[in-house]
């Protein structure tokens, strides 16, 4: 099963840092996501894109995870050579990850 079957997600950007939220539709799935979608897995998944560390924050109040990926935007939104300088499309890729 892919994450998109049970989650939604949005990407934000600040400088060369991308953050991707992962939000289960059903809050009952949150403990399972915490167990299975680790920072290490996300780091490996985006290994060609994220050159720095990935930190995972658990936001228990709203039952969501927030992945903060450093050195992930080609040097930063304002100077990246990429088409998608903000990395807006990264959330769609994360949702394609197999659970």
């Amino acid at each position: 099963m892919k994450l998109k079957e049970i989650c939604h997600s949005r990407t934000g950007d600040k400088g060369d840092i991308s953050n991707i939220s992962l939000i289960p539709w059903d809050e009952a799935d949150y403990p399972m996501l915490k167990e299975k979608v680790t920072a290490q897995r996300v780091k490996e998944y985006f290994s060609e894109i994220c050159k720095g560390t990935v930190t995972r924050y658990e936001v228990d109040g709203i039952c969501a995870l927030n992945f903060v990926m450093e050195r992930a935007l080609g040097g930063g939104v304002l100077r990246s050579l990429a088409m998608d300088k903000h990395g807006k499309a990264l959330s769609s890729a994360l949702l394609e990850m197999d659970l």
Partner: protein
């Protein structure tokens, strides 16, 4: 119980204006905010002001205010915006001129300044840059602007003095919302629950339609009604600090617990410590509740006190980027695009072009996710591919050489390339450093029509 209603009238400089007019006319608002100042905008604005001292504010100020001033005046809605960029006083003068032209009399404009630390940069020469190795002084020759993220004090002062329209330079985005609430309810750092809620509300409002179903729709997964008539958000506060986020009835879009969750984490790193000049906000205990159709209440954000320092954004002349694109079709499209990309890079070296970085993308295949993910997500067949080559150079002269080479792919490259485009952009980038709070003091100037 005293209720205050604030609308989010814009999510970025070029945002739609008609949803803001709808908010003003039908949202029963007390205030509307317009967040229109991106990081690099301020650098571009300062370059404009150097050429013309009467400029240096948001290029779309006239376009926006000419449509919203009159309805705001008629409906008693006060306007708070950072459209002043590097010249809020000139922006206020322009706004007053627009108001006069609309036949408005009695409207009071305030310009909040004090965020620029450009003149005092020499004293910060040894300060470390936050984003990369280096110190501020090493970049002196390239620096265009330096502005601190200011907090609410200037806006609050303007509102206390009866301003109807408050125009600022660089303030933190949530500050635009926090300031009128602190003005109305008298909240300070001694009200941590309320202050945290103000930052949360400001954060949810600052991107306009992104919390009301914009940037959310995904057919088959996330349905959003009437995107073409997307309503912008408004929050209704009460004295406890609780607020409800909604939109004007009859507009398109969607306000749900999930749209609010997505937007709460947008551009947030550590949710326990969201740093703003007004307070350190902790969002980890936030709860959203669906109160009705398109109505979500929020509670649980708190302030964890004040940072000792303020962040300064420095805009500097970075480099030039030349983007060249050309399309290939048919079942061998990717192979021909690859051949063209390889040829392009070899030509740059053959011509001795001085460049510092290159990137080759095959749009339709790997431009978003690079190769490994692209292969995992695709079925291995493409009917068309658009080649994109981006090259960074230090000067325009070399950028032009890159662009000319892009143009020549047509007749000298692989078969059947079409739709070539070339674009050269001068890149203004941003780095940051910290200054003590005392280094920045808000000043407010007034103008009444």
């Amino acid at each position: 119980m005293k209720k205050i209603r604030i609308g989010g009238g814009a999510g970025f400089a070029g945002d739609r204006v008609d949803p803001a007019v709808t908010l003003i006319e039908r949202g029963k608002l007390d205030y509307i905010i317009f967040e229109c100042l991106a990081e690099r905008t301020i650098g571009l604005a300062r370059q404009e002001m150097l050429k013309d001292p009467g400029k240096g504010y948001s290029r779309l100020l006239e376009y926006r205010l000419s449509q919203v001033l009159k309805p705001a005046w008629e409906h008693g809605v006060k306007i708070i915006t950072n459209m002043g960029a590097v010249n809020p006083r000139a922006a206020a003068a322009k706004a007053a001129e627009i108001a006069r032209g609309l036949g408005i009399t009695g409207m009071k404009f305030a310009a909040v300044t004090g965020d620029s630390v450009y003149e005092s940069l020499p004293q910060y020469a040894d300060e470390p840059i936050l984003e990369f190795e280096g110190r501020v002084g090493q970049w002196t020759d390239r620096i265009v602007s330096a502005n601190a993220y200011m907090g609410a004090e200037g806006i609050i002062e303007a509102l206390e003095n009866g301003a109807d329209v408050v125009i600022t330079g660089r303030v933190a985005d949530p500050t635009l919302t926090l300031a009128p609430l602190c003005h109305e309810y008298g909240w300070t750092l001694d009200n941590p629950e309320q202050l945290g809620q103000c930052v949360l509300a400001g954060h949810l409002l600052e991107c306009g339609g992104q919390v009301t179903g914009g940037y959310y729709a995904d057919p088959g997964y996330k349905e959003v009604p009437d995107l073409d008539n997307l309503g912008f958000p408004l929050v209704e506060f009460d004295e406890t600090g609780r607020f409800t986020l909604t939109k004007v009835e009859g507009t398109g879009g969607l306000v749900s617990v999930d749209t609010c969750k997505e937007q709460m984490l947008y551009e947030i790193h550590n949710p326990a410590a969201y740093l703003t000049p007004d307070c350190i906000a902790d969002f980890t205990g936030v709860r959203f509740t669906q109160e009705g159709e398109n109505r979500v209440s929020a509670w649980g954000a708190v302030s964890r006190g004040l940072t000792e320092k303020l962040k300064v954004n420095v805009c500097y002349r970075d480099s030039f980027i030349t983007d060249c694109e050309i399309s290939y079709g048919g079942c061998n499209a990717l192979e021909r695009a690859r051949l063209a990309g390889e040829m392009f890079l070899k030509r740059l070296d053959r011509l001795g072009v001085a460049y510092s970085e290159t990137r080759v993308d095959y749009i339709g295949y790997n431009s978003l996710y690079r190769d490994r993910l692209a292969q995992a997500l695709s079925d291995g067949r493409w009917g068309e591919i658009r080649l994109h080559v981006a090259v960074r150079t230090d000067d325009r002269e070399n950028a032009v050489k890159v662009s000319n080479e892009g143009d020549s792919i047509y007749t000298n490259g692989p078969a059947g390339g079409g739709g070539a485009t070339m674009r050269i952009s001068e890149i203004i980038s941003v780095f940051s450093f910290f200054v003590p709070r005392g280094a920045v003091r808000a000043q407010v100037a007034y103008l009444t029509v």
